[in-house]
């Protein structure tokens, strides 16, 4: 059972209390955007095998959206953070770096920037 700490209520919630919202930090497109932009925003996903930044909702708790950094292979959770941000906070990046030194460069920091 996946357990995540809701950054608002501080509760460690079972996945049965939560709803997954998929990849985080997508750039929301507007009226001036092209078809390619919209395709990217609505459908194309990094779908990483490894570290993912994703959205979750504490549906059966406070009801709020928050963010999670997780490994899609081991289910290791690197931390959770509030939704009001366009990229993972440095605290989370440091945590990932300290546990997965090798993996950070390729994927995470630049992807975090690129899709922020």
């Amino acid at each position: 059972m996946l357990k995540l700490v809701c950054p608002y209520c501080g509760i460690e919630a079972d996945e049965t209390e939560l709803i997954s919202g998929g990849e985080a930090h997508l750039k929301r497109e507007g009226p001036a955007s092209t078809d390619d932009d919209f395709e990217g925003y609505l459908f194309l996903r990094n779908n990483p095998k490894g570290i993912i930044f994703e959205r979750w909702r504490h549906a059966m708790g406070c009801g709020k959206w928050f963010h999670v950094a997780r490994c899609t292979v081991t289910q290791e959770v690197f931390g959770t953070y509030p939704a009001q941000t366009h990229k993972p906070p440095s605290r989370i990046m440091e945590e990932i770096k300290s546990r997965r030194a090798g993996q950070v460069n390729g994927l995470n920091s630049d992807k975090a920037e690129k899709f922020s």
Binding site: E15, D35, R45, N47, E54, T74, Q75
Partner: protein
């Protein structure tokens, strides 16, 4: 190239039994990879192997390698609950799934390999009014598409399936979409049968060979970095289901796909008591009885991105709880095994058989929770696409650009999961 393998027949069985079965040959060869091929297929699941087979059979392209990072058929093809049906709503889906189902009818003879196709009939239960209306609509679509289905009522369901409890308290059974020529087949045998046939026409099946890098512009060829050295090809087909996003990234593009875990489990074997396939989409319970007597049970997909081939326990619990309500007789069965596969879910829950943004690189993926049934038809359509460089009628609606164009093939209307 002529056939080099001995044909399986009653005579070969008799001959071998006189030899105490010591003379059977290996069903396929395990050659060293060559430096280059006309076509390389990545992924020796059902779809990859079927693509290779029809490239040879229908288009005469035999200089083909199929590269597999694990063992052939060890992905979703060897992990699924083997439901075969073609009662889809949209014309494009009905066409390719029915092509596939009809190829399954004669696949054992075609491959000279018993894939144990069992058209025992599939009951898709309607347990909400919304679902009942949805299935009546599909039934009408199927009439026009020429696919034999019928909307049936609870009494008929009870006749077809004696062990079902039609008065489930939470989700009573209101009706069902019945496809009498749907059914099951033996999953491993489908992979093995195609593999044997591919090997027989001279193709190389190379296992324990992971593609780790793709250079699409290596002097007019596609060059692959693999765990067994560099391999070049004129055309590349990516057929890797849950790992499609990983491979596409190596070729430099992204896909409208997310990978999640889907689980299944089997019970201890019991005497025959269920001779149809029953699907309950509202509660995500899928059940049939194998020839060995085990209850084969499938559940719903997990909710989050996952590559670990094991899912969340709560999904198993939900599925089993729902099935026990519908089939009280199974409440005391012991479960023997449980496992997961990584399925590739697209935005409109329909597959992709397409050219890609990269020349000479083709992709077949997005079958998600329901692509065992489509293996022969998908291989047929993908082979045509790769041989001609342009999709035929079966594949063309499933191109990648439909997401940009908003031209979806929306099969998620009636059921979120499509086993």
């Amino acid at each position: 190239m002529g056939s080099v393998l001995k044909k399986y027949s009653l005579f070969s069985l008799v001959r071998q039994s006189l030899n105490y079965h010591t003379g059977w040959e290996r069903a396929w060869k395990s050659p060293e990879p060559k430096e280059s091929y006309d076509v390389v297929i990545v992924g020796a699941g059902g779809h990859g192997l079927a693509t290779a087979y029809y490239l040879g059979k229908n288009h005469g392209i035999n200089n083909v390698a199929i590269l597999e990072k694990g063992w052939l058929g060890g992905g979703n093809t060897g992990r699924n609950t083997t439901i075969i049906r073609s009662n889809y709503l949209q014309d494009a889906s009905a066409a390719i799934y029915e092509k596939s189902r009809s190829l399954y009818e004669t696949l054992s003879q075609d491959l000279n390999y018993n894939i144990m196709f069992s058209p025992r009939g599939v009951i898709m239960l309607a347990q909400t009014h919304h679902e009942a209306r949805g299935y009546q609509r599909i039934n009408s679509a199927n009439v026009i598409q020429g696919i034999k289905t019928e909307y049936i009522l609870p009494e008929r369901i009870k006749e077809l399936c004696k062990i079902i409890n039609i008065d489930c308290p939470r989700y009573p059974i209101l009706g069902a979409l019945w496809q009498p020529r749907g059914g099951t087949a033996r999953h491993d045998a489908v992979a093995w049968g195609y593999a044997r046939a591919c090997s027989d026409i001279g193709m190389d099946i190379i296992q324990k060979c992971e593609v780790t890098g793709i250079n699409p512009h290596a002097n007019g060829a596609v060059e692959l970095q693999t765990s067994r050295g560099k391999i070049r090809c004129q055309k590349l087909g990516m057929v890797v289901a849950g790992h499609s996003g990983v491979l596409a990234q190596k070729a430099g593009f992204r896909l409208p796909i997310e990978s999640v875990a889907l689980q299944a489990l089997v019970s201890e074997p019991v005497k025959p008591c269920l001779d149809v396939v029953v699907m309950a989409n509202t509660v995500h319970g899928y059940i049939s009885q194998s020839d060995k007597g085990e209850m084969v049970i499938g559940g719903g997909a997990d909710q989050y991105n996952n590559y670990s081939q094991r899912g969340s326990f709560i999904h198993i619990e939900n599925t089993v709880r729902a099935l026990v309500e519908m089939f009280p007789i199974i409440s005391r069965l012991k479960m023997l095994r449980q496992w997961g596969g990584i399925v590739d879910m697209t935005g409109d829950r329909s597959p992709i058989i397409s050219k890609t943004p990269v020349d000479n690189v083709f992709i077949n993926c997005g079958w998600g929770t329901g692509g065992f049934k489509s293996i022969p038809g998908s291989g047929w359509a993908m082979a045509e696409l790769m041989a001609k460089g342009e999709p035929g009628v079966l594949a063309s609606p499933f191109s990648l650009d439909r997401f940009k164009e908003g031209r979806f093939i929306d099969e998620s209307v009636a059921a979120g999961v499509a086993h």
